[in-house]
Point group: C2
Chain length 369, copies 2
């Protein structure tokens, strides 16, 4: 071919996948993972009603999905007690973050996040030429005061904050989050990623005031609702900002089956309550397993926990590599000092048992290598 | 809220949906369309094997899809007899067009297309600040010579060409398309949209030479494969360009169920052959219905035909409005003189019968209004 010249910005971007999928690792291993505990998927599955709705929708897949996502959007509005004009649905939080950054970020736009927070936000921020300014975690928590200070210092246009946090699982109370929202200079749009909030204690999410504050909140069907593969997320924000997603989004981008499945999942409050209980039980069991191996853990409000391997990042990476080699898929932070921890998703009895068996072996292997 | 300032470019973009969905019209009508013939969906449905595969995949939707789309990508490579490194899979051709434009277009970049060609390409081209230069259709066909001339004249970086064409259904032979590819100045990347090519006569698609030419070809599971709602498209192009999609794409964007469904659909050659036959029969029947109403039609190599309503755009729009009001969903070009035609998708007996009944009524209503 003759030379195809990418934009100057695109030339600077790496051709990478922010997260290597477990399937890639399985192809290397030559077998399926016994325990898929690395992507904070919900091993407790989606609502049986959502499964049934998706099965029944399969034959109608010849039809495009509704580009307005009308039914799901209205059901979400009712669920949250807000006007549907405050809600935009997209291809997972990842897709929505991409659209949001595209709407707001020019090359050179200052953006603030925490060093070690969600990489896909960074992928999009840098992908549109934004300049990332980061503050360190404080005691394995995102640090609201440092974020406020940094936003002021660099005149950020966007600030990203996840509560509960991924990859650590730690969280702040609604009061603290509200204080963060209130005290950030008002020019900066707050991106509050609440992907895991349904699994956090009551009192973690501040009340929804979608019009009055400079905040866009991200929610998803990928975690508590157990539909990661469906790619359905939504954002709640001021009407004018929400409307502006129509300027750039892939209007037909959400699968028809996914829309129908998410609608059924949202209506099944009993299943959600059941998942919340199972996540809580599984977290407790993971804490226990860690303690049985003389390891400490971080408190978690998400469907995973961070286990402190007790040494440095190199040691934790060896533990992780050994777990993966023994068919237990997990992930971990790449940023010190959080990289002393491995991150293990909640799971069903079988998966957790596989982890329980593999962990002491991995710890021993890491110690003796 | 305080003022949220979009980028200068985003401020110039309209908050529109390029295609209003039939569901929106159904909500206005207060009923489901009797005949859904406006979006060139395949009323003949997906392969039963794809339906079964998707049904069986529903319960596993708690897992993210493979971000590399490895299995589908390799099956497509085998299907086409090319290296998988020449193929990128995305959220429909719409999603892939968005990524492609983002990789190549800066504000002010000149882009060439035909006046009245696929609006979603224009949506993305303008959405990234590209300057659209258009050439008119010639006898209801895209005009290769005019495209070549315009690319040279404006120094275009991208040129869009669909074969078969949407919205008209007309097409050029592989020889003509190859001539277009060969004679465009070599700096311009050719985007050859072949969404409908599986339903065109043999000899419509030029041979695949993915590395040697400056062309990226777009294919989809939305049309002949009957999976519009699944959002699976793919592009075939030079390895370096294909690899660069990893710089910007939503890596987990393709639904897990969709990947699995598309894989099964691709393998069912018998179903595809059956659809090709039904499309051909349905086209013939639509031509016949038009002729019975003293209307002429354009030849079509796609799963729809253009019916010339015999007068101007205002008349055709009245015909369309009356059909829609009578529960027959169709669409039409908005650009003269192509807007003298209505565009009607192929369909099953029931849908075509509904159209057959409604057409003379709509023609009479339009004539007497």
């Amino acid at each position: 071919m003759s030379k195809i010249t990418l934009t100057a910005l695109a030339q600077t971007l790496p051709s990478t996948v922010p997260f290597v999928g477990p399937e890639t690792q399985e192809r290397t291993l030559g077998e399926k993972f016994k325990a898929r505990l690395g992507a904070n998927e919900s091993l407790f599955g989606p609502s049986p009603k959502a499964i049934l709705a998706m099965e029944q929708a399969a034959a109608d897949i010849w039809q495009y999905g509704d580009p307005e996502n009308y039914d799901l959007r209205n059901a979400l509005a009712q669920h949250h007690g807000i006007d549907p004009a405050h809600i935009i649905i997209g291809e997972g939080i990842d897709g929505l973050l991409s659209y949001l950054v595209r709407l707001l970020v020019d090359p050179g736009t200052p953006i603030v996040t925490s060093h070690g927070a969600y990489p896909t936000f960074n992928f999009h921020a840098v992908g549109y030429g934004g300049i990332l300014h980061t503050v360190p975690y404080k005691n394995d928590h995102e640090d609201p005061q440092a974020l406020i200070t940094k936003v002021s210092e660099v005149g950020a246009k966007l600030v990203y904050f996840a509560n509960p946090d991924n990859p650590m699982g730690t969280w702040h109370t609604a009061n603290t989050v509200q204080g963060l929202m209130d005290n950030i200079p008002h020019e900066a749009l707050r991106v509050l990623d609440e992907a895991y909030v349904e699994m956090a204690p009551k009192g973690t999410a501040p009340p929804l005031n979608p019009e009055t504050e400079n905040v866009i909140r991200m929610r998803t069907f990928s975690k508590a609702y157990g539909m990661a593969g469906a790619r359905v997320g939504y954002a709640i924000g001021p009407k004018e900002l929400i409307k502006s997603f129509d300027k750039v989004r892939n209007h037909f981008g959400v699968s028809r089956i996914s829309q129908i499945g998410a609608l059924a999942a949202l209506a099944d409050l009993e299943h959600l309550a059941n998942v919340q209980k199972q996540v809580s039980d599984s977290r407790n069991r993971l804490h226990q397993i860690a303690h049985e191996n003389d390891l400490s853990t971080l408190p978690s409000a998400a469907n995973f926990i961070s286990i402190d391997c007790g040494k440095d990042g190199n040691f934790a990476r060896k533990v992780l590599e050994n777990l993966v080699a023994n068919s237990v898929f997990i992930r971990m932070s790449t940023i010190a000092p959080m990289d002393r921890c491995i991150r293990v998703s909640c799971g069903d009895t079988e998966a957790i048992h596989a982890f329980e068996k593999a962990l002491p072996i991995a710890l021993q292997a890491a110690a003796s290598s």
